[in-house]
């Protein structure tokens, strides 16, 4: 029979309804897949017991492909058909890739939509397709381990990934046959793995030192929502550089001047092994076979090693300082420091980072696996395996989203800092009698006037039934999915006429642009309020005048004598003049004056309407 896992109280699923979810850390060098089983999140090993899947794909002559360690082992003999570090090319254009791939042997060709492709013997493969091959291998592993099809996955991406890179990652997941429930920032995933999202608030630094790259991110947690405050890093700094330093030291000690290719590789292997051993040991013995067949034997102490790598580790502190400055905080403001990446096992890294942030970093979870574990926890919740109240909210809308209303005002439908996914609706109406179409202008920003906000999209709703101004009911719905994709729809409620559009609100906006927009809204708050009042009164004045003109044309003759009509027209003229001015109070006063002047007229019209409606009915009909 099928094997079962323990569920949370009340969350046991019906047979064949298991909500199997996995978290995937799709890395530059290695990838991992993790899942929550019986309440415990852990990475899933393959049949040989290894958790890390090297992110390497080799396309073979027989039309199949290999993924992982086997492919990596063959990279040297078949470099053109063995793709490594494909993550670097995700979502990049041809020009970017030429620059990035300078040291790589691949043959890039421009694809259809400006997407670069790599020429392999399996044909031209895009970075998305190659990533999908890696994801497929992880999917197979997860499904074999969990004993069923995956309901959905969460894939992690670097915090600095832009929309194009995120979209490419999502596409790769879809291509691999995965339901990508959400993309999660890698530092956020690491913080989730440590359960830091359960605190009410705090500032978390995530220090990620991998084999070849360094990233530092500062997150702000507020009511369970993580916001990336700043990121920095060095794309060419990592544990491999430590190996080179140790190898250089061995060469010096062993009196090797210019090692050949094979010796260089043995040197690096010894160096890496020594580095790893020194995580726990105080000294390590090194034995190296030299080219003449003799053996060099030596000893490396932790102290010596620390001295060798210290300058390198100190190099990571410059981005740390920068990221704190960008976030506008001091090291003392940081409440937790999370360590990610295999190189953070080096004790000297831990001590220097602890010193810098003035607190011991969190190191209990395997730093290679912590990101995948956080993603698995998030996936488990999104798949619906946890009670509602433990639901995590992880992303927010950086700037309010709204719609342009009469007078060039921005009506905010979704306020900034609202967590996503979210859907909000509001009803609008027509301004003129018989209006059959409406232009909708979607804007982003905190300012009151549309001209000060950022325009996202425009579309039109047609086929509104011709009704009196204000009678049509047009429901405008804003929906932002978990990946920040906004769709806006408008529907006329009586006729069902519909129109809709999709936009990416964050597209092309950098953090600093968002900040500038926010600051402007605060600095101009007073002016904006005045401007809004003025515009509102102007719109109201126009509406009142419009309605009055229509009424006078229809039955002005019948209900008013010349004197009465003149008084009303005089008040209307005053209002017309006032609404051209800049004083909202004057406009308001003129509107009130006109309303007073036309009160008799309005009453007569109303009575006439009622009489007309009642003609031919007995009084009883209205009881």
């Amino acid at each position: 029979m099928a094997l079962l896992q323990i569920s949370e109280p009340g969350q046991a699923t019906a047979p064949h309804q298991h909500r199997l979810a996995a978290g995937i850390d799709l890395g530059t060098t290695n990838s991992l897949v993790a899942s929550v089983r019986s309440g415990v999140a852990a990475t899933l090993p393959d049949a040989d017991g290894s958790h890390l899947l090297p992110s390497v794909v080799r396309y073979l002559e027989n039309g199949t492909h290999l993924v992982g360690a086997e492919a990596r082992a063959q990279a040297a003999q078949d470099p053109l058909n063995t793709i490594v570090s494909v993550k670097r090319f995700m979502g990049r254009g041809v020009a970017d890739v030429k620059h990035l791939g300078g040291s790589l042997p691949y043959e890039f060709v421009a694809g259809g939509s400006g997407m670069p492709r790599i020429r392999t013997r399996a044909g031209e493969r895009s970075p998305v397709q190659i990533s999908a091959d890696i994801l497929s291998a992880l999917k197979t592993r997860a499904e074999q381990t969990l004993g069923g099809e995956l309901t959905g996955v969460v894939i992690t991406v670097p915090a600095y990934f832009d929309d194009a890179q995120r979209q490419a990652t999502k596409d790769a997941g879809t291509l691999a046959g995965l339901n990508v429930m959400r993309l999660l920032n890698e530092p956020t995933a690491a913080a989730v793995a440590y359960g830091l999202d359960r605190a009410a608030e705090g500032v978390i630094a995530v220090y990620d030192l991998g084999g070849g790259t360094f990233d530092i991110s500062v997150l702000r947690l507020n009511r369970g929502v993580f916001e990336v405050m700043a990121t920095a890093g060095d794309t060419a700094l990592g544990g491999d550089d430590m190996d080179h330093l140790v190898a250089d030291w061995i060469m010096q000690q062993a009196g090797v001047a210019e090692p050949g290719h094979a010796l260089r590789r043995r040197l690096l292997q010894s160096a890496c092994a020594a580095k790893e051993a020194l995580t726990d040991a105080a000294t390590v013995a090194i034995s190296l076979e030299l080219d003449d067949g003799s053996h060099w034997r030596g000893e490396l102490s932790r102290e010596r090693f620390d001295a060798l790598v210290e300058p390198l580790i100190r190099k990571t502190l410059a981005p740390c300082r920068r990221v704190l400055r960008d976030a506008g905080i001091d090291p003392a403001d940081v409440s937790e420091v999370v360590m990610v990446g295999g190189s953070t096992r080096v004790p000297k890294v831990r001590s220097l980072v602890g010193e810098f942030f003035q607190r011991p970093p969190l190191v209990d979870i395997d730093p290679d696996r912590v990101v995948a574990i956080g993603a698995a926890i998030q996936a488990d919740i999104l798949a619906g395996n946890k009670p509602e109240d433990e639901m995590l909210l992880l992303d927010v809308i950086p700037l309010s989203l709204g719609i342009e209303t009469m007078g060039g005002l921005s009506e905010k439908i979704i306020a900034r800092n609202t967590t996503i996914p979210v859907a909000r609706a509001q009803e609008f109406t027509t301004f003129k009698d018989g209006q059959t179409a409406m232009a909708l202008h979607v804007v982003q920003g905190e300012r009151e006037l549309v001209e000060d906000c950022r325009s996202l999209a425009r579309f039109e709703l047609r086929d509104i039934p011709p009704l009196t101004a204000g009678a049509a009911r047009i429901r405008v719905t804003f929906q932002v999915d978990a990946d920040g994709l906004l769709s806006v729809s408008a529907e006329e409620q009586t006729s069902g006429a519909r129109a809709q559009i999709e936009v990416k609100p964050s597209y092309g906006l950098t953090d600093s642009e968002i900040e500038t927009m926010l600051r402007a809204s605060m600095e101009n708050a007073q002016d904006d309020m005045q401007a809004r009042r003025l515009r509102e009164q102007k719109v109201e004045a126009a509406r009142v005048l419009e309605a009055l003109q229509a009424a006078l044309q229809q039955d002005g003759e019948a209900f008013l004598d010349a004197g009465e009509r003149q008084a009303i027209e005089r008040a209307a003229e005053q209002l017309g003049r006032a609404s051209e001015g800049e004083d909202h109070r004057a406009i308001r006063a003129a509107i009130e004056h006109l309303e007073a002047a036309s009160r008799v007229y309005v009453e007569r019209r109303m009575n006439a309407n009622i009489q007309q409606a009642m003609t031919g009915h007995a009084v009883d009909d209205f009881k």
Partner: protein, 107 residues
């Protein structure tokens, strides 16, 4: 009437409870659904109900509601590994037939 855990299963449950950080035991149950009548329920227990029967097996409290106990009497819960997949398995003497995957059953 009783249900038991194998030593391996009990050890796993203790381990999962430890990592979870809360919970008083393991709930075994059945409910009607699925492709062939009954389905098993396997959950952590945060609160034991008055009507629940509680058994002790290798240091783990096994909680069963009285309605389920009728179907589970004599069941031994095991923890096994099949290829990459590992998990809990009900060895239930009351079962007459089950669906192909064994996730639901009839008594």
């Amino acid at each position: 009437m009783a249900v038991t855990l194998t030593e391996t299963a009990a050890q796993r449950v203790r381990n999962f409870l430890d990592k979870r950080g809360s919970g008083v035991g393991l709930r075994l149950g059945v409910r009607t659904s699925g492709c062939s009548g009954m389905a098993y329920v396997l959950e952590f227990v945060d609160a034991i109900e008055d009507t629940d029967e509680v058994f002790e097996a290798h240091g783990v409290k096994v909680v069963v509601d009285p309605k389920s106990l009728v179907y589970l009497d004599g069941t031994e819960l095991d923890f096994t590994r099949e290829g990459l997949n590992e998990g809990f398995k009900f060895n239930n003497p009351n079962v007459k037939d089950e669906c192909g995957c064994g996730e639901s059953f009839n008594v």
